[in-house]
């Protein structure tokens, strides 16, 4: 099975994020960059599927040349080859989805597995958009994937429980947190990654309209947490929840 795994480079979740004083973005001077954790889960799932059957795992990302580092990490985990669609522009979800749909058209994968969302902007849009553009079935928030021949069944995490849906390939699946625990990039894997193909394509050579439909007007840090207040008894707590917070 040929699997395309789009990934995104994001700040390390353990990094303290600071918003620039003018609100145009975040300070990136000493941020450590990693593969978006949900994308890492997507890579792991693609590798497991490949290991059970046979096939190929192709990584793709859209960004600057420094994003190579995250592709190399994915190759070190075991992916077969990678594509960097190069652009210096900050693209919105729709533009990314158009690029990925174009790449999917060229590569003709059986499956596209990607993270359900990126932890930087939490948009949760790209997977759904790509499925729509390609006219393929989609299973978002996957927590379990089973494959039999060309039929796939996916258990999804939905509000209030789990839902299992079945469909045929080609399809788009987005990975949720509990799908798997990603492997480490082993040292021999890191050495092998050096020899794997990493192809660069200029984003503006794809003939896709990348004009942003969304504009980020300003970024602001969340308000500082106020200290709580102590109550004397459970009765007082219940009464405050009812009269003041009005949640019960």
């Amino acid at each position: 099975m040929k699997i395309l795994v789009p990934i995104k480079r994001v700040p390390d979740p353990a990094t303290t994020i600071r918003v620039l004083p003018d609100g145009t973005g975040i300070a990136t001077d000493n941020v450590k960059w990693v593969i978006n954790p949900f994308c890492e889960i997507a890579i792991e799932e693609a590798l497991r599927i490949k290991e059970k059957q046979t096939g190929e795992v192709i990584l793709v990302t859209v960004g600057q040349s420094t994003w190579q580092e995250q592709l190399r990490t994915g190759l070190a985990m075991g992916a077969d080859r990678a594509i960097l669609v190069k652009t210096d522009a900050a693209l919105d979800s729709l533009a990314i989805a158009k690029i990925l749909a174009k790449i999917a058209g060229d590569e003709k994968p059986d499956l596209i597995i990607l993270g359900k969302q990126a932890i930087d902007d939490d948009a949760n849009q790209v997977g759904q958009m790509v499925a729509e553009m390609l006219g393929w079935p989609q299973a978002t928030f996957a927590s379990k994937i089973e494959i039999a021949a060309d039929k796939i069944s996916v258990m999804r995490e939905v509000d209030g429980g789990l839902e299992t849906i079945a469909f045929k390939i080609p399809a788009v699946i987005t990975a949720d947190l509990r799908l798997n625990e990603p492997r480490y990039a082993s040292l021999p894997g890191i050495m092998k990654a050096r020899k794997k193909e990493l192809k660069e394509i200029a984003a503006d050579s794809l003939g896709v309209d990348l004009a942003p439909k969304l504009k980020v007007k300003t970024l602001a840090a969340p308000p500082k947490r106020q200290g709580g207040r102590k109550v004397a008894s459970a009765q007082e707590m219940v009464s405050l929840l009812h009269t003041e917070a009005k949640v019960i």
Binding site: T73, S186, M191, R194
Partner: protein, 389 residues
């Protein structure tokens, strides 16, 4: 305030690393955070080595990571050093295991073994299926290995070994022991497999340090081994000392990891604990200690990175390694002691890692060339005068 403090990279040394080196470091760091930190206090308390982690460390390529061929990862010395640093941020005992397996045992065979010996041992050792140990130190000969009493004499087609080795990391769990012994021509090495008649081990208990690491005595009583178990290329003290240079290189890196762990613990603790009117970190005496820690760790990082580049270029001398091992371990020990002090009573319990690192570093300061021995090595280097005897 600097985010750089999170990984304690005050001078942006990360920018001097390649993608591959960073990836290797991140893999080791994640492994330590996920697999070692949650259970290390248990092993330290119970004087056990977490043997179940060995297959995973092997799969990640941590054994003989900087050796080429024979199933080893073949990484450069920067990556190897960074891995040692991260392992020791977990525990010096874990790093010791990796050092002994890689830099002492595998390297001894890699540098001194015949092609048959390399083929037989190295791939299995890289896979963690065979564990090695390195028998040089004896009960009465530590800093003076040339005075060793272990003897080997020819016996027909093979050799007969007699003697005792002590303070041997991994001794009783090793499948193959590199035993250094005197023959008529001088010092040479032998491969003694577990179960060879006359070869036994005894673990050393009652340690207050390196409790998550096995330390043993090797006892050789008329142990007969075949000719094929002789490391023929090892002639003179150069044989074992060449291995020690490799291990000391990793220790110089490792000490930074232990020191960093203590620094972070002391920083977090003193920022959150309030005494009198404000957090401890708001007092000058505490800040002076934190700044000293930051300074010494940063200097040690710089020394190690330069040392790694010299090693990769084939320009590293043993004296460079003595400089780095001596300085980094001793500073790490001082940092651990300061951190212990700054945590007050909490510094003596295993809820925090500092007392464990502090106790471990007492060993690290002593083994692989004591602080004083490295002082003499450097003293000889700059004066031309030998002050050993």
């Amino acid at each position: 305030m600097l985010d750089l403090l999170r990984d304690l990279d005050f001078f942006h040394l990360d920018e001097l690393l390649t993608d591959e080196e960073r990836m290797a470091r991140d893999t080791a760091k994640r492994f330590v955070d996920r697999e070692i930190i949650p259970q290390i206090e248990h092993h330290f308390a119970n004087e056990t080595f977490p043997m179940h982690l060995v297959p995973q460390m092997a799969e990640l390529g941590m054994f003989g990571a900087n050796l080429k061929g024979y199933g080893c990862a073949g990484m450069n010395n920067v990556a190897y050093g960074l891995i040692m640093q991260e392992l020791e941020a977990g525990d010096s005992g874990l790093r010791s295991f990796a050092s002994v397996q890689s830099a002492l045992s595998m390297y001894a065979i890699y540098a001194n073994g015949s092609e048959e010996q390399k083929q037989r041992y190295l791939p299995e050792m890289a896979k963690g299926k065979l564990i090695g140990c390195f028998g040089l130190t004896e009960p009465d000969h530590g800093s003076d290995p040339g005075g060793m009493e272990t003897r080997a004499r020819r016996d027909g087609d093979g050799w007969i070994l007699n003697g005792t080795k002590r303070w041997i990391t991994n001794g009783s769990i090793a499948d193959v022991a590199i035993v250094w012994a005197k023959v008529e021509e001088g010092i040479t090495g032998f491969l003694v497999e577990k179960g060879t008649p006359g070869f036994s081990t005894r673990d050393i208990h009652g340690k207050f340090s390196m409790r998550a690491s096995i330390t043993s005595e090797l006892i050789l009583e008329d142990v007969r081994i075949p000719r094929t178990a002789h490391l023929e290329k090892a002639r003179g003290l150069k044989g074992p000392l060449g291995c020690l240079t490799q291990a000391r290189y990793g220790i110089a890196w490792g000490a930074i990891g232990a020191a960093r762990s203590c620094f972070h613990c002391a920083l977090d603790y003193t920022k959150s604990r309030k005494q009198f009117s404000r957090p401890l970190a708001g007092y000058q005496l505490v800040q002076a200690k934190l700044v000293r820690m930051l300074t010494e760790i940063t200097k040690a990082q710089m020394v190690c990175l330069r040392l790694a580049h010299l090693k990769d270029q084939g320009k590293m001398r043993p004296e460079h390694v003595s400089f780095a091992k001596r300085n980094n371990v001793n500073e790490a020990l001082k940092i651990a002691r300061d951190a212990r002090d700054m945590l007050g009573a909490n510094g003596i319990v295993n809820e925090y890692p500092v007392i464990r690192h502090m106790l471990n570093l007492e060993t690290v300061n002593t083994y692989e060339g004591t602080f004083d021995v490295h002082t003499l090595i450097l003293g000889r280097d700059i004066t031309g005068e030998n002050a050993f005897e």
